[in-house]
């Protein structure tokens, strides 16, 4: 019996020792926005490959849940597609001793696109809103040909929709006749094959098969999106409790967007990086 206890003790000490030697073994809990989710997941993939022993979990449960999780210390990093609400979330966080620090990792720009044959080159955000609300139904009202407008939107759960809904629609609901597609490539395919179509895609999906429109006189480019002149753009955040300890995994994760690999991931996810290598 004694022998067994001794044996057990040895095993326990061995296990704890190995645990100690693997002190680098850290876990990162990341939670929040479905918009930032793809970036968070791609970053996590990269980190898992780069640092063996690091455990990263990414949960896409929405910005509000990300904020709640950070306030309750249920996660290390909260992904958010908007800033914390000052009167509710921020206040509650400070009351609970959590100091939210925002890291802007990328810009989300949404381009309004039409078929290349469409003569219309420019719309105001109000005109786009009225198209999607069903108030403008023919291109001739906008200086185009006499043809019906086919409005194409992303599915209502997507982050792209969220951005568009907030910045163009000003949170008003779309008309019932608006068509929904489930991804950026699908929106692109629909607009490129339908002469009367109008749609919106992330800037990473622009090419010669669709024509991006100037919104309020400004052409969507990486420059106009990053410098904030293009109206349908917003920053994407990571929130941490205080600025992460320098050199820690959390710090590396929150500053990964500054590296070349991070920039590539952000571009591949259809967002606009803040860096320009």
């Amino acid at each position: 019996m004694k022998k067994m206890i001794a044996f057990g003790l040895i095993i326990v000490s061995l296990v704890s020792a190995s645990h100690l030697t693997a002190a680098e073994k850290e876990t990162l809990q990341i939670q929040g926005s479905t918009t930032v989710g793809p970036v968070g997941e791609a970053f996590a993939q990269y980190f898992k490959r780069a640092y063996s022993g690091l455990e990263v979990t990414v949960q896409k449960t929405g910005s509000s849940d990300g904020a709640a999780a950070l306030i309750d210390s249920r996660c290390d990093i909260a992904m958010m597609s908007r800033f914390m609400k000052p009167d509710k979330e921020f206040k509650l966080a400070v009351e609970k001793g959590v100091m939210p620090v925002a890291h802007v990792v990328a810009m989300d720009g949404v381009c309004v696109v039409v078929h290349p044959s469409n003569p219309v080159k420019e719309l105001t955000s109000e005109q786009v809103r009225e198209i999607y609300m069903g108030k403008i139904t023919n291109w001739k009202e906008l200086g185009g040909t006499d043809s019906a407008i086919v409005a194409i939107s992303r599915d209502t759960s997507s982050g792209t929709y969220e951005t568009f809904h907030e910045l163009i629609m000003e949170k008003q609901e779309m008309a019932a006749g608006v068509e929904y597609v489930s991804s950026n490539p699908q929106a692109h395919a629909r607009v490129s094959t339908t002469t009367g179509a109008i749609g919106y895609v992330g800037i990473g999906f622009l090419d010669s098969k669709v024509k991006a429109l100037k919104i309020d006189g400004i052409m969507p480019t990486k420059e106009t999106i990053t410098n904030g002149t293009y109206p349908v753009a917003r920053p994407l955040f990571l929130f941490t409790n205080g600025y992460p300890k320098l050199g820690s995994m959390k710090h590396r994760f929150c500053t990964f967007y500054l590296t070349e690999a991070g920039q590539e991931i952000i571009e591949a996810s259809g967002f606009v990086p803040l860096t320009n290598y």
């Binding site: 449960t61 759960s157 019932a176 929904y180 489930s182 339908t194």
Partner: protein
């Protein structure tokens, strides 16, 4: 020679001087093997039943919070589907109607074509050609639905726009057309089986009474096989109403009831496509999330009723054939 061989076979059994009465151990062993074997087979069979039960329980459990939190009357009669707004509006009627639109379009095309093909294969064409054509038709069922979806977007949609001048190519008609092709193998296969199951006797008796081939087919064979044909149509209908990928890609997913009602060039949204499209990125636990499960319950109820009806007709078809034989 043959006698000797027969002896050889019998010999070993005759050789054994074992008593025919089993020992208690053998008795117990046999009893155990019989019952344990049955139990194992029973459990294996149960897995699929269990899967169905678990699906029902899980979907209903996830839908319950929605039933408690939102108005079920609004869900069934409202046409505004804005699950994302605050507060969300959950009127699923336009989705139900959308599902019915594409299904009805599919059936209007697939039922006549399917039944006529089945009659042709079972009664008119030579057996050799039938044996080539039927597998080819059944191959249609093996094409993945996403491939149909691509066809709908890349080929059918531009064609509809350029030929009929529709403003949009993804609409109720497009989805219905593709679904009809997808429902064809089911309809043809099952109706052909039920037509073939009507024996030669009936056909020969009809010809013997001086009926023409046309009269035999339409007054004797098809009425005799009608239970099986109805079952085939319902199975095809289930294929159409449950299909997700194609309607997601080809129907346009607009949550509206077309007005005027016959205008098939308008986009519609279906139950299945809405669930599939929204589920991936809906925050877990939100009313929107639970509303999707409520849609799932609705769909389950639909397919369950259809399945019951088809079982009823298939059972009747079998009974009838049994009686005739």
């Amino acid at each position: 020679m043959s006698n000797g061989r027969l002896d050889n076979i019998i010999e070993p059994a005759a050789d054994k001087n074992e008593s025919l009465v089993l020992t208690p151990l053998q008795d117990l062993k046999g009893y155990l093997f019989y019952h344990v074997g049955r139990l194992i087979l029973f459990l294996i069979t149960c897995t699929s039943v269990l899967a169905v039960l678990l699906i029902f329980i899980f979907v209903i459990r996830e839908a319950l919070p929605f039933v408690k939190g939102a108005s079920i009357v609004q869900f069934l009669t409202g046409t505004i589907w804005h699950p994302q707004s605050e507060p969300g509006e959950f009127g699923a009627l336009s989705l139900v109607v959308g599902s019915l639109y594409v299904t009805v379009v599919a059936l209007v095309i697939a039922v006549p074509v399917g039944v006529v093909s089945a009659v042709f294969l079972s009664d008119i064409v030579s057996f050799r050609i039938r044996n080539i054509v039927k597998p080819v038709i059944e191959l249609l069922a093996a094409i993945p639905s996403v491939a149909y979806g691509f066809f709908a977007i890349k080929v059918l949609s531009p064609w509809l726009m350029s030929t009929f001048g529709f403003p949009t190519g993804v609409n109720a008609l497009n989805a219905g057309l593709v679904l009809s092709v997808m429902a064809l193998p089911t309809i043809i296969s099952v109706s052909e089986d039920s037509l073939s199951a009507i024996g030669r006797e009936l056909r020969e008796a009809s010809y013997g009474l001086g009926a023409t081939r046309y009269e035999t087919l339409f007054k004797v064979i098809i009425p005799a096989a009608h239970s099986g044909i109805i079952a085939a149509v319902i199975l095809g209908m289930m294929r159409a109403i449950g299909e997700t990928m194609v309607v997601w890609m080809a129907s346009g997913n607009a949550t509206q009831i077309p007005s005027p009602w016959w205008d098939l060039s308008q986009s519609v949204g279906t139950i299945t496509a809405t669930i599939a499209g929204d589920m991936a990125e809906t925050p877990k636990g939100s009313t929107h999330f639970h509303s999707l499960f409520m849609l799932g319950v609705l769909l389950l109820v639909f397919t369950f009723c259809l399945n019951m009806t088809s079982e009823f007709f298939l059972a009747r078809a079998k009974k009838k054939i049994g009686k005739m034989a």
